[in-house]
Amino acid sequence: MEKDQDKILREVTDSEYKYGFVSDIEMDMLPKGLNEDVIREISKRKEEPEYMLEFRLKAFRKWQEMEMPHWAHLQIPEIDFQDIIYYASPKKKEGPKSLDEVDPELLKTFEKLGIPLEEQERLAGVAVDAIVDSVSVKTTFQDTLAELGIIFCSISEAIHNHPDLVKKYLGSVVPYNDNYYAALNAAVFSDGSFCYIPKGVRSPMELSSYFRINAANTGQFERTLIIAEEDSYVSYLEGCTAPMRDENQLHAAVVEIIALENAEVKYSTVQNWYPGDKDGKGGIFNFVTKRGICKGDHSKISWTQVETGSAITWKYPSTILKGDHSTAEFYSVAVTNNFQQADTGTKMIHLGKHTKSTIVSKGISAGQSNNSYRGLVKVQKGALNARNFSQCDSLLIGDQCGAHTFPYLEVGNKTAVVEHEATTSKIGEDQIFYLNQRGISTEDAIGMIVNGYAREVLNQLPMEFAVEAQKLLQISLEGSVG
């Protein structure tokens, strides 16, 4: 039924990115461009203490000496860093922050996005920190969490209210000079989430950040810091969307996770930045540095990501396994369609003895997109009996897309066991027809096959997120078999 599939393809590619609306919110922004004055101004507007300004300036000076990395399997157009607005915030009225003070237009935006910021979130049991453009606009459930000693707030608040923790840990996992985009982030980051779980506490709810780029010509540079003390546990989720715009917008975030002895942090991302239109125009450049350290013995960090958005993704959530017997996991589904490009994967750095890492990466490419897995497994000399298992699968839909796998293994001792498996397959006409013959439409059939393929990863997501992610996978790929 060639015609049918063409029709579906047309319908879907013509259908709009669901989150592509622009909210009419009064903004307070700095002019375009980046220099030391802009950085001083950002710091001043945020009324930051001196140590933060120092941190920013140090990073900025380093960044100026650095060059954009070109090693990824990506075609990145020239980015004019002077043509970006580095600070934009929804205008706020004076006075204490309460619900009535939030711009109703903004609340409407969250409603459209289906983010539970009001009473319903009590039912959903998810605490949300919502960040629009550069500023955290509302963090829910702070009080409930505070009773347990959990701090969940914007990083700006943490800089003011918890300077000791911020000074101790900010930049400790991703140093200000780590890489080009991390340095840029350190210089200009305007907000982000901060999360601290005290010793022996299990967070009773999922903590969630929601990021949205709204204003035109702005970049988003959020910074997230998660600290899990001994014997603590937290599950953290992040989601993101952006309006549809013809120009590319830059998103360069940094996430740092510190897991102390016997602590466990589960970090889940459903990334749905605007991917650009079907001709590859517009979309977000998603250049993100995420890294965690299993600092204490028996600690665990688990990354799960479902990546369906962005025009270009450059992202390698990594873990340093420093504590003995520490564990790290990386579960990823990355979907690219039309002209999207993704170069994503992980780094597992084994330093401690008996450390164990698992990598499950499922790439799905459709249209004329390019999807690369890039992963490093490094076992240091002292990491006796380290183990890694990597599985990298690629699924191709159609014959104009590309899938690539770049695994790097560096094993420094003989007791390590490192296994790597990789497969590439094409979504089969036969599979689709089999489902058609049982009364299931082609669209649903593709959704079912892709979700089956990605099931191992989706199973890692918290329930509500998994359902959302499943729908997203289907939407991202609908009509891609032509």
């Binding site: 039924m1 060639e2 049918d4 089969g428 036969d430 599979q431 027809f433 089999y434 489902l435 058609n436 013959q437 049982r438 009364g439 299931i440 439409s441 082609t442 649903d444 079912m448 096959i449 979700n451 089956g452 393929y453 990605a454 099931r455 191992e456």
Partner: protein, 256 residues
């Protein structure tokens, strides 16, 4: 139920079916036999609407309506079921999810609400018993890691779940040992209703010992060259296809 009129069909530009006429009425079992390459599977594919089969002439009427322009899923929803010769594996998709989706699509098509999970599981249990399928199989992904016999049994199980009006069994007997064959045949017979029809496509007669046809048609070089009752199958078993082929070739020569 099904009426095929002067059906001509190509695959990749080559004519495979060269004028098939066939009528299947409610309650009937038709066997389509013939040597390899005679067009049996192409005929099945044409009925269920595979896109690589290009219909160049003729028509297929199902319940009085031409289905040539109908997408395959709609044909399925209207009650046409194909038991595949080579059922595909769909990794990660559980049998339960797959069948629930299929059942609920069918219900939606008929304007019914989705089946409740408990009714669905009850139905599964019943039908499993009916076709004698191992419980464990339905806890796995669709056909994944199934043996040849298990795959074929799974097809019949799906048929039991979906209760089609017209079932086409494409070489369901191939690759089955005699015990599996018996189980499959029993399942098919148990599912027979006065208002449903079955087309059994097979190379060999042995399946027809268990599923007794009302009519047997021999397909050769894209045409039905002989039709008869169940005794025709026995005759073929005994004498092979060569005598029919010869007769057919001679008749062509005679016609010149």
């Amino acid at each position: 139920m099904l009426k095929i009129k002067n059906l001509h069909a190509n695959i990749e530009g080559k004519e495979i079916l060269k004028g098939i006429d066939l009528e299947v009425r409610p309650g009937e079992v038709h066997a389509i036999m013939g040597p390899n390459g005679s067009g049996k599977s192409t005929l099945a594919s044409a009925i269920v609407g595979r896109d690589y089969v290009e219909i160049t002439e003729g028509d297929i009427l199902y319940m009085g309506e031409s289905i040539l322009e109908m997408p395959p899923e709609e044909r399925a929803l209207k009650g046409i079921f194909l038991s595949f010769q080579y059922p595909v594996e769909i990794p990660g998709v559980s049998m339960v999810n797959f069948l629930r989706a299929a059942i609920n699509e069918q219900r939606k098509y008929r304007g019914l609400d989705p089946m409740s999970p408990s009714d669905f599981l009850k139905l599964m249990r019943e039908k499993k018993k009916l076709v004698g399928i191992d419980s464990a199989l339905t806890n796995r992904s669709v056909n994944e890691g199934f043996s040849g016999g298990e795959k074929k049994k799974n097809e019949i199980f799906q048929m039991a779940m979906l209760e089609p009006k017209l079932s086409i069994l494409d070489e369901t007997d191939s690759g089955l040992d005699i015990d599996a064959l018996r189980v499959v045949a029993q399942g098919v017979n148990a599912l027979k209703r006065p208002d449903s029809s079955t087309i059994v496509i097979t190379h060999y007669q042995r399946l027809l010992n268990y599923i007794v046809p009302d009519f047997v048609h021999v397909l050769y070089k894209g045409r039905i060259i002989r039709s008869g009752g169940k005794e025709l199958a026995l005759e073929l078993e005994e004498k092979g296809y060569d005598w029919l082929k010869e007769e057919y070739e001679n008749s062509l020569n005679g016609a010149l």
